[in-house]
C-alpha cells in the first residue's frame, strides 16, 4: 500500500475525474470503482479521497447533489462538470506523455542508438 499511495498522490484527482467520466457516483463507489478497475492495485485511502472531493468541488471540477442510493438512503452523488471534463483531458494527455517518456527509458533492453 505504501508504494501505491505514493503513486496516487499526484494522480488521485485525475483518477477521480476519470471515474466520474463514466457517470455520477458517490464517494464510496468512486473508491470501489478505482480499486476494482485496477484489480486492487490502487487502493484509495479514504483519508485522502474525501478532502480531494471537497477540494475539487470547491474548484468547480466536480459538482455534487443529494440523491438516493440503491438502499434508498440520501447520499451525496458527484458528477463531472464541463470544467472537470476539460481538466481530465488535459491531465490524461499529460499522463500519456509522461508514461510514454518513462516507458522509453525503462522498457527497451538496448541502449537506443542516435543517428
Amino acid at each position: 500500500m505504501a508504494e501505491s499511495s505514493e503513486l496516487l498522490h499526484g494522480t488521485l484527482d485525475t483518477l477521480v475525474l476519470k471515474t466520474l467520466a463514466w457517470g455520477p457516483r458517490h464517494g464510496y463507489a468512486i473508491a470501489r470503482w478505482i480499486a476494482s478497475t485496477t484489480d486492487d492495485t490502487l487502493l484509495i485511502e479514504e483519508g485522502s479521497l474525501y478532502p480531494a472531493l471537497y477540494r475539487m468541488e470547491r474548484r468547480g471540477l466536480i459538482e455534487a447533489e443529494w440523491g438516493l442510493s440503491d438502499t434508498k438512503r440520501k447520499v451525496k452523488v458527484y458528477r463531472l462538470t464541463d470544467e472537470g471534463r476539460a481538466r481530465l483531458s488535459v491531465e490524461t494527455a499529460q499522463w500519456q506523455r509522461f508514461a510514454t517518456a518513462v516507458a522509453k527509458v525503462l522498457l527497451p533492453n538496448q541502449e537506443p542508438t542516435h543517428a
Binding site: G27, G47, Y50
Partner: protein
C-alpha cells in the same frame, strides 16, 4: 441560459441544503457503513469489519475537519459568485431596460442629475462657507470680544480699555486686538496697495497659529520703546512678491513709506482678519483716549471656562471701567462665538434655507422618478409575472428592481456631480469676493462623502416604490395568472402614482412660494433708494502716510487732488470722503443739541460721522435739503485756533432727532468729545452700510477742518464710468508716485458686492423654481398621458356613443387639474407653516404675503393645464374604431 436539467438541479440543491458539518458527517458515515457491509460480505465478522473500516479510514475527525473547511470555503465562494453573477445579470438587465426605453431613461436620469447636482452644489457651498472647520486649532474655544455702546450695539474696542480687560480678566488664556488697514507697499513696479492688519503680538498665539518661516511677533514688539518696525507677511505675498525666497526673514519691506524688518512668513491658508497680506505690531497705549474705538478683538477661553462665564466676567470688568472713566459711561462689553466672524447669523440662516430648499427639490426629483418607475413597472408587469412564474423568488425580483434603480441613480449621480463640478468655478468667481470662505468651494471627498450616500439613499428610496408594489402584488396571491392572461394593470397602480404627483406639486408649491418671497424681497431690496446715486460714480482710495503728511499737507493734497480730478475730461464733479457708502466701514459719535447737552452726557444719541470735501454731496447725489454745502471757506482758522468756529452739515434724521419741528440751520450741535459746532446745512439721509440697513443720524465735517488721511475720492462721469478710471489713477499717481491708488471701481460695484448674499440666494431660488416647474410639468404630463393611454378603450367607447371631443378634453383635463389643485392646496397650507423660516432673510417682505401665494397657485395651475392639455387633445383626436380595436 443553462439547460433545464441543470437549472432544476440547482433549484433542488437550493431547496435541500444541509449544513456543511452534517453533509460531511453523513457522507462519511455512509462510506463506513458500505465498507463494513462489503467486509462482512467477504466473510469478516461484523465486529472485525467495523474495526477494520475504522482503521482504514484513519482519523475521522481530521478528515472531517479538512472536508468541512473545504466545504465552507466552497459555499462562501459559491454564494459570492452567485451574488456577483446575479448582480451583473441585474445590471445587464437594467442596462437593457434603459436602452430599450431611451426616452424614459433620458427623463429619469436628467431629473436625477438636476436634483442630485443641485443638492451636491448647495451642500458644497454650505460645506465651504459654514460646515468646514475653521483653520484654527480648537476654534470653538475662540471668542470675538467687543465693546457695547450705550445704545446696546456692539462696537470696536479702544486700546486703553483692552489693556484693562487684559489685566483684570482671568477667563482668557490670551486675547488680542487688531485692526485691518490698507497699506502702501513699495515695489519695483511702483507703489502697491496691500491689505494688512495691525495686531497685538498675542494675535497669533490666541489663534494658535505660528509662522511657517521665521517667527511671529515677540512680546516686546508691541511695547512702546520696543523694536516695533517689524512685519509678518502672508504666504501669498511671500510667493507673489518675494518669489518664495526662503531667506526672506531679516530682509525689509517698505510700507507706508517706512521700512519694516520681515520676521516671519505665515503658513499658506492662514488669513486673518481677512485677505490679509501683512501684519504689523499694534502698540496699545494706556493713555489712549478711551472714546476712540477702533479695534476688533479675539480671545481664547481658558480650559474649563465657558463662554457665558467669560461674558459675565468681561461685562463686570467693563462695568468697573464705566464708572472709572468718563468716556466709558454707559459702555459695556460683548462676547460672540468666533465662528460668526466668518458666518454671520444671517449667512447661517441663508445657508440653512438653501439646504432645506435643495432637499425639497431633491425630494421632488425622487418623487418624480418614483412615479416614472411606477409607470414603467406597470408596463413591465407581464415581464415580472413571467419571471415569477419561471420561479424567480420575490426577493430576487425586488433586488433586481433595486439594482435597476441604483443603476439609474448612479448614472444620475454621475451627471449631477459633473453638473455641480462644472458650476463650481462660476459660483466661486461670482460670490467669493463678498462671501467669506466661498473661495474654498470645491467638490472634494468630504463633499462626495455626503453626496454619494445621498445618491444611493435616493436610489433605494425611489426604487422601493415599484418594489413595494411588487411585494404587495405577490402577497395578494396568484395574480400572476390574471396578468399573464390579460395583461391588465393592477387596480391600485394609479392611486399611488396620483399620490406621488400630488406630493410633487405640493413640494413645488412650497419651493415656488419660497422663490417668490425671496424674489420679491430681492426686488424690493434692489429698488431701495440708498439716498445716493451710485451710477456714473467712480471711487478710489488713497491713504496718506503719517511719515510724509501732517494734517496741513493732507488738506492740501486732498484739495489739490479733487481740483485735478474735476479738471479731467469726462468728469462732471469730484469730491472725497473718509468712508464712501458700502465700503464696509463705519464711524460713530454721540451727539446732542447743544442747548440740551449736559455734562453727564445724558440725552446724547449715537450718530455716524463722515469727513467730506465741498464737492462730495454733489458727486454722489446726496441732496442738499436746507442751508448750504461746504465751501472752500470752511477751514481751520489759524488766527483764532478756535474749535467753536467749526461747522457741520447733518442729515435730516439727525436734524429731526436734535431739533424736532425747528429749523436746524444755525443751531449748535454738541458732540460727546466736547466740541460744539454750527449747523450750516441739512442733507438727505443715506444708507451707509448695506441696502437693508436703515439710515442713521449722520453728521458731516469739512475735511479742511477735520483733516483725515485715508480718503476715498469720488468723481461723477459724463458717460461710461469705466473710461475715467485709468485717468483718475494717473492723475492721483502724478501727485505723489509713492502712494498706491486702491479700490478703484465704479460705485455700483460696491453696491452690487454688498448685495451678493441676497443676490446669490435669489439666483439659486430662481433656478430651483424653474427646475421645480419643469419637474411638475413633466410629472403631470406623464401621469395624465399614462391614464389616457390606459383608458383608450373607455374613451373610444364613450366617443362611439356620441361624446363630443370637447367632453373628452374636459374629462381628461379635469383629472389633471384635480391633482394639480389638490397639490397646490396642500403645498400652500404647508408653505404657510414653513415660510416663517425665511423671515430672517427677507427684506420688507412678509412670509405670508397673499400676492405671492396667489401667483404661485396661478402659475402652477397654468402649468397643470398646459401639461394635461397635450394628452387631452390627443385623446380627443382618438379614432373610436382604432381605440376599440387596440389592446
Amino acid at each position: 441560459m443553462p439547460e433545464l436539467g441543470r437549472f432544476a438541479r440547482e433549484l433542488r440543491a437550493r431547496l435541500w441544503k444541509p449544513a456543511v458539518e452534517d453533509e460531511v458527517a453523513s457522507e462519511m458515515a455512509y462510506h463506513m457503513e458500505m465498507l463494513e457491509q462489503d467486509l462482512v460480505a467477504q466473510g469478516v465478522s461484523p465486529a472485525d469489519a467495523r474495526a477494520q473500516a475504522r482503521a482504514r479510514f484513519g482519523s475521522v475527525d481530521r478528515v472531517a475537519a479538512e472536508c468541512v473547511a473545504e466545504g465552507e470555503a466552497r459555499d462562501t465562494e459559491r454564494r459570492r459568485f452567485e451574488w456577483r453573477a446575479e448582480l451583473s445579470q441585474d445590471l445587464r438587465q437594467g442596462w437593457r431596460q434603459l436602452a430599450n426605453a431611451p426616452r424614459f431613461a433620458f427623463v429619469t436620469i436628467s431629473t436625477l442629475a438636476v436634483g442630485l447636482g443641485a443638492a451636491t452644489i448647495i451642500y458644497a457651498i454650505a460645506h465651504a462657507v459654514m460646515l468646514r472647520p475653521l483653520p484654527f486649532p480648537d476654534a470653538d474655544r475662540l471668542l470675538l470680544i467687543s465693546e457695547r455702546n450705550p445704545s446696546g450695539q456692539e462696537f470696536a474696542i479702544s486700546e486703553s480699555n483692552f489693556l484693562d480687560w487684559q489685566a483684570r480678566t482671568t477667563s482668557f488664556s490670551s486675547a488680542a486686538i487688531f485692526e485691518a488697514r490698507r497699506m502702501a507697499m513699495r515695489t519695483e513696479r511702483g507703489p502697491e496697495g496691500v491689505r494688512g492688519a495691525v495686531a497685538t503680538h498675542t494675535l497669533f498665539p490666541t489663534l494658535g497659529v505660528g509662522a511657517a518661516l521665521g517667527r511671529t511677533f515677540l512680546p516686546e514688539e508691541d511695547r512702546r520703546g520696543g523694536d516695533v518696525r517689524v512685519a509678518v507677511i502672508s504666504h501669498g505675498l511671500w510667493e507673489r512678491q518675494f518669489s518664495s525666497d526662503r531667506g526672506i526673514v531679516g530682509r525689509s519691506i517698505d510700507l507706508d513709506g517706512r521700512s519694516h524688518r520681515i520676521v516671519g512668513v505665515m503658513p499658506a491658508g492662514f488669513d486673518f482678519p481677512g485677505r490679509t497680506d501683512v501684519w504689523l505690531p499694534l502698540v496699545p497705549i494706556p493713555e489712549y483716549p478711551r472714546g476712540d474705538h477702533r479695534n476688533e478683538g479675539v480671545a481664547r477661553l481658558k480650559a474649563g471656562v465657558t463662554m457665558s462665564q467669560a461674558r459675565q466676567e468681561l461685562e463686570g470688568v467693563a462695568a468697573q471701567l464705566a464708572t472709572e472713566y468718563e468716556d466709558n459711561r454707559g459702555w459695556s462689553a460683548a462676547v460672540r462665538p468666533f465662528r460668526e466672524w466668518y458666518v454671520s447669523p444671517q449667512l447661517n440662516a441663508r445657508m440653512l434655507v438653501l439646504l432645506s430648499t435643495v432637499a425639497l427639490l431633491l425630494g421632488m426629483a425622487c418623487v418624480n422618478v418614483a412615479n416614472l418607475l411606477l409607470a414603467r413597472a406597470a408596463t413591465r408587469e407581464r415581464e415580472m409575472a413571467v419571471r415569477a412564474a419561471l420561479g424567480a423568488g420575490r426577493w430576487r425580483m425586488v433586488r433586481q428592481l433595486l439594482t435597476e434603480s441604483l443603476l439609474l441613480s448612479a448614472i444620475g449621480a454621475a451627471g449631477g456631480i459633473a453638473l455641480a463640478a462644472a458650476l463650481v468655478p462660476i459660483i466661486r468667481a461670482t460670490g467669493s469676493e463678498a462671501i467669506p470662505r466661498l473661495a474654498g468651494l470645491v467638490i472634494d471627498w468630504r463633499v462626495l462623502a455626503v453626496a454619494i450616500p445621498i445618491c444611493v439613499g435616493t436610489g433605494v428610496l425611489f426604487g422601493l416604490a415599484p418594489a413595494a408594489r411588487l411585494l404587495r402584488g405577490a402577497r395578494a396571491g396568484d395574480r400572476v395568472h390574471d396578468l399573464l392572461r390579460s395583461g391588465t394593470r393592477v387596480a391600485d397602480a394609479g392611486r399611488s402614482r396620483q399620490a406621488l404627483i400630488v406630493m410633487s406639486v405640493a413640494f413645488a408649491t412650497i419651493l415656488l412660494v419660497g422663490a417668490g418671497l425671496v424674489g420679491t424681497s430681492f426686488r424690493r431690496l434692489m429698488s431701495v433708494d440708498p439716498g445716493f446715486v451710485p451710477s456714473r460714480v467712480v471711487v478710489a482710495n488713497v491713504t496718506l502716510p503719517d511719515s510724509a503728511y501732517d494734517e496741513e499737507r493732507a488738506i492740501v493734497y486732498v484739495e489739490e487732488a479733487t481740483r485735478r480730478l474735476r479738471a479731467l475730461p469726462g468728469v462732471r464733479a469730484a469730491g472725497a470722503t473718509n468712508l464712501v457708502p458700502f465700503s464696509g466701514g463705519n464711524t460713530a459719535m454721540d451727539f446732542a443739541a447743544a442747548e440740551r447737552a449736559t455734562a453727564e452726557k445724558e440725552g446724547y444719541r449715537s450718530g455716524s460721522w463722515r469727513v467730506v470735501t465741498p464737492g462730495y454731496f454733489q458727486t454722489v447725489g446726496i441732496p442738499l435739503l436746507r442751508g448750504r454745502a461746504f465751501s472752500g471757506e470752511d477751514r481751520f482758522r489759524e488766527d483764532t485756533n478756535d474749535a467753536t468756529d467749526r461747522v457741520v452739515i447733518v442729515n435730516d434724521l439727525l436734524a429731526d432727532a436734535a431739533w424736532p419741528g425747528r429749523d436746524p440751520i444755525g443751531q449748535r450741535l454738541a458732540l460727546s468729545n466736547g466740541a460744539t459746532m454750527t449747523v450750516i446745512g441739512v442733507v438727505g439721509a443715506t444708507r451707509h452700510l448695506t441696502l437693508d440697513s436703515l439710515p442713521r443720524p449722520t453728521m458731516y465735517f469739512a475735511h479742511a477742518q477735520f483733516p483725515w488721511k485715508s480718503m476715498w475720492f469720488t468723481v461723477t462721469t459724463e458717460g461710461d464710468p469705466t473710461q475715467v478710471g485709468a485717468a483718475m489713477r494717473r492723475e492721483l499717481q502724478a501727485m505723489d508716485g509713492t502712494l498706491p491708488v486702491t479700490e478703484l471701481q465704479p460705485m455700483e460695484t460696491l453696491v452690487r458686492l454688498q448685495a451678493a448674499e441676497p443676490r446669490l440666494t435669489a439666483m439659486v431660488f430662481g433656478i430651483f423654481a424653474v427646475a421645480a416647474l419643469v419637474l411638475v410639468a413633466v410629472g403631470l404630463y406623464g401621469i395624465v398621458a399614462y391614464s389616457v393611454s390606459q383608458r383608450t378603450r373607455e374613451i373610444g367607447v364613450s366617443m362611439a356613443l356620441g361624446a363630443a371631443p370637447a367632453q373628452v378634453v374636459r374629462q381628461v383635463m379635469s383629472s389633471g387639474l384635480r391633482l394639480g389643485a389638490l397639490g397646490v392646496a396642500i403645498g400652500g397650507v404647508l408653505s404657510l407653516g414653513v415660510a416663517g423660516a425665511l423671515r430672517s432673510i427677507l427684506y420688507d417682505t412678509q412670509p405670508t404675503e397673499v400676492g405671492t401665494y396667489a401667483i404661485v397657485g396661478f402659475v402652477l395651475l397654468a402649468v397643470t393645464v398646459a401639461a394635461s392639455a397635450v394628452p387631452a387633445w390627443r385623446a380627443a383626436r382618438l379614432d373610436p374604431v382604432q381605440a376599440l380595436r387596440s389592446s
